[in-house]
Symmetry: C3
Subunit: 397 residues, 3 copies
């Protein structure tokens, strides 16, 4: 599984169980070709006629690495892979792939995508996804929950009658949900952008925005005042309970449909907001980050409370993921890097995320040890920190 | 020519004829040292005293790879290279280099640069450049035309008297020119930027802008309303005729002289506009993209109608081009990548573009096959798609 | 010291003495663990409890490469390293590290950081740092001065009474200081950003801003009008005396505390301003640039008066620095690249900057020669240009 010769200690550290600190549930039902392609496409819709999403780095990786776990030869054609997947059934496939990831704990964002209009078919309903406990059971691992704050807001907006109730309910619901979670998560980067105001919105502006919101509570929340208010409320809860807040940054998620521009999800834009949070001591965890992972690495070095991963970038850059990990290692402190698969819908992503994390880190550490830059014991220690140690410390697992 | 050991099928696929889907004509006349340096410089003017544009990756590549085609040793000094070039004559040199590129079809943007003021000397007049048919004849290849829409606007502005005629003529001329072309091309990225309004400008605003335009028709068009109108008119024509629209993005072209900031040509800024074009099904092709090619690769994966190349970046990054190609392969679907040389003025660029495309892709595919990540037959298939298959499909060649 | 087999001429060129064209003084006093960690952190403050700034690429590099110069084994633990450092004393350590860098001339920015509020403890006072002449003496090298223009402004603001005096004094002081310096330097990138107005501010606006400034002369200058005025005044002086102006760009320095967003320090934003300076012929030198070094390389190729280095990025990316250097070589002309360590406070940075410059360039040149892309004599020539030749020409040393 590891691409290079490594000292035993480094190899052992890389093969040790991982904490997957950010993932979603995978589909519990059997998937047809179109459904599978939609999930590979990560919001891109179906591939144009005459083409297939299997002709991507991710698709090639599924055929190379997941096929053998389904008793097929590496590089099995897509049709063969999907036929075998159907034959085994989703339950068995999920068990093989999630257990194959070698994960000791999943931290699961159980909120489904909040997609409007004609694309809702592309995103699974919550009921179709394994919940946190099921993810753990399938993967032979512990499981904990992450609270997606924009999802809580949607529930509150649909039930509250008055602005003041809406705001009270929001605070209460955040506190209740956070009490049984290990972290909070925001997708404000894809709703608004990451150039967040470092000053809290005024009470008056929030009340006014809440009144507007309640006039149309089923719409996806895009009001900047309420998005900021929600985030600050989450920060307060996080501070009280000693929880970190995850920020979706960089690529991932469907663009161009009421979503913010991808360049507004550049984590470098978080700088002023990160400066405002620093005195509160609430850990900020930057997810995915690609292709802005160098900027994220810089922030992780510049702020004591900022952490970073390249999550979904690894299974999606696949055969090229070693460079992405190596670029993160250019500047990010070793005690600030985490592993996540970012998997959603497909257990393949969970398996490939773990696989490429180990392979890419093996290449990075192996080359440093071979060049005499690092000692083997330091390399092993860093592998352990990134794979699980840092997550245990930050999430208090 | 290929830098690594490859399975025969992969080697054959890489050496197969290419479709160069975006280039300009090359100079038909013999070039002195100053002229040659100006063309190497790509709009940068002459090198400072005591220095030479040969001291660039491109210059080193000319000496290494083009010299042998002129019967010289690799790494021939600049003066020797230019003397031999003059001795052979431009016609013979162009034939050797263009034929050496191994191209089966050139798609040619025949519009010369529309440069104002004291820099006009740096850019060849159209009469000095080979036309599309001549490019094909010199290179032993077919040739088709691309329509630069900003060039059409200039012609129309110079002849129309009334705003309403100007707008009618624009639509008519676009339709006439598109009827004998395989694609349209816009340089709005360097005139205005790529953060385009996803909504068409109003008729009133367009008329007003057209009136302003006709008061000063010889100026280079920089009015945002008319640039947007022109682009939307081109989109309509493209949709009707099933043609793609090329967007100049990223580096290339002279900065700082009435041109947009290079960071405004970041293709990520096209996201909202790409979302607006998606329902129309008009293919958008992002040219060059460097150093924002990772953002472009993301868009090519996220939108079914977006395609990408790294065109001019390959001959200009030269000995370092393998990493650029490999970075594009991190995320861009294989059915969305195209080859182009972006050559303009110098046949050397056409030759080096094809050479480094093959060498860089050979390194990328070779390492994937050697690591067991891809099968040899998949690698060969991808080489064929990127080299010519995708272009044949998109341009309906 | 060099990681690859190289032809003798290339090896000799790489090992030849360097001109470190941008550094600061190093601490003259002995450093405790906390002080050393603060200086490693480059403005990030102390590492969170349970972690250490030694767990960074820079920290690993100190243990690997600096430990042997202090008679320790490579990879010595941090406590052992610091104990030995204390035992030898700061003077001896500085001499060993600075002399070990193999530098023939240091160009020194002697202005200390101008930090406000509770972080002042993190940055050394000027009195604690070696001056330019001392740097030279410790390193067995020549030394020259760079003038930090924002520092001059602070001195003038504290003494001037009237706006008109303030402006006169500014011009005079710039001229006096420039007369004994080899270059000017601005940190406007971290005070305001690099999207500078290419037009000089009006006299009226400057007078008004100067009056506001004198009402609060002890504050750090952040007024855009005065920052621009100061820069243009520096440009005038630079033009008169034939001096270059250095621009701090990219990473480095403390973020989020009244500082500009890091993405505003992207050198690509300098394009319009660079265009305005081009006719004046004043060399602009872009420092550090990371992670925007590809954009900087593009500007260095597009403008005859723009130069570039990756300064502080090399000791901080350390084991991964070869890729950074190789990316700069993708597009930057060889006659436009310079070497600097950017060292400040720690002599370790000066040593590691030179070491990784040599190692990274060795890897880049070695691979080009081995691939037949460049001749050995060209590689040696380029190593000499980047290491010292270009600096001698630009700074007229």
């Amino acid at each position: 599984m590891l691409p290079v010769d490594l000292p035993d200690t480094v190899r052992d550290a890389l093969l040790a169980p991982l904490v997957d600190h950010h993932c979603h549930g995978v589909r519990r039902d059997d998937l047809g070709r179109a459904q599978f392609e939609l999930l590979i496409g990560e919001g891109a819709g179906l591939a144009p006629p005459g083409t297939t999403h299997f002709d991507t780095p991710f698709g090639a990786a599924v055929r190379r690495w997941c096929a053998p776990l389904l008793d097929l030869e590496p590089h099995a054609p897509p049709a063969v892979y999907l036929a075998r997947r159907a034959e085994l059934g989703a339950g068995e496939v999920n068990r093989r792939l999630l257990a194959g990831a070698g994960v000791v704990a999943f931290l699961v964002d159980g909120a489904q995508e909040d997609v409007q209009g004609d694309r809702s078919g592309e995103f699974p309903e919550a009921a179709e996804l394994l919940g946190a406990a099921e993810m753990g059971r399938h993967g032979g691992a512990a499981a904990d929950e992450l609270v997606r704050i924009e999802r809580i807001e949607r529930d509150v907006a649909e039930t509250a009658q008055l602005a003041v109730d809406y705001l009270d309910d929001l605070g209460e619901e955040l506190a209740v949900r956070a009490a049984r979670a290990v972290g909070l998560k925001t997708v404000i980067g894809s709703r608004y952008g990451l150039d967040l105001d470092p000053v809290r919105p005024s009470r008056g502006a929030v009340i006014a925005a809440a009144n507007r919101r309640l006039a149309d509570p089923k719409e996806r929340l895009t009001d900047p005042v309420l998005l900021h208010y929600l985030l600050w409320s989450a920060v307060d809860v996080a501070r009280e309970r000693g929880l970190p807040v995850q920020f979706h940054t960089g690529f991932g998620g469907p663009p161009g449909r009421g979503a913010a521009e991808p360049f507004r999800a550049d984590p470098a834009r978080l700088t002023a907001f990160a400066g405002a949070l620093q005195p509160l001591g609430v850990p900020m965890i930057l997810l995915h980050c690609y292709p802005f992972h160098r900027q994220a690495a810089y922030l992780a070095g510049a702020f004591p409370h900022v952490y970073v991963d390249v999550g979904l970038a690894l299974p999606h850059t696949a055969a090229a993921s070693a460079r992405v990990v190596d670029e993160l290692l250019e500047l990010a402190p070793f005690h600030k890097q985490l592993f996540s698969s970012g998997c959603r819908g497909l257990a393949e992503t969970g398996y490939l995320g773990a696989l490429y994390h180990r392979r890419a880190l093996a290449a990075a550490l192996g080359s440093r040890v071979a060049a005499g830059e690092w000692s083997a014991s330091d390399a092993a220690r860093v592998a352990h920190m990134i794979g699980s140690g840092n997550a245990r410390r930050v999430y208090r697992l």
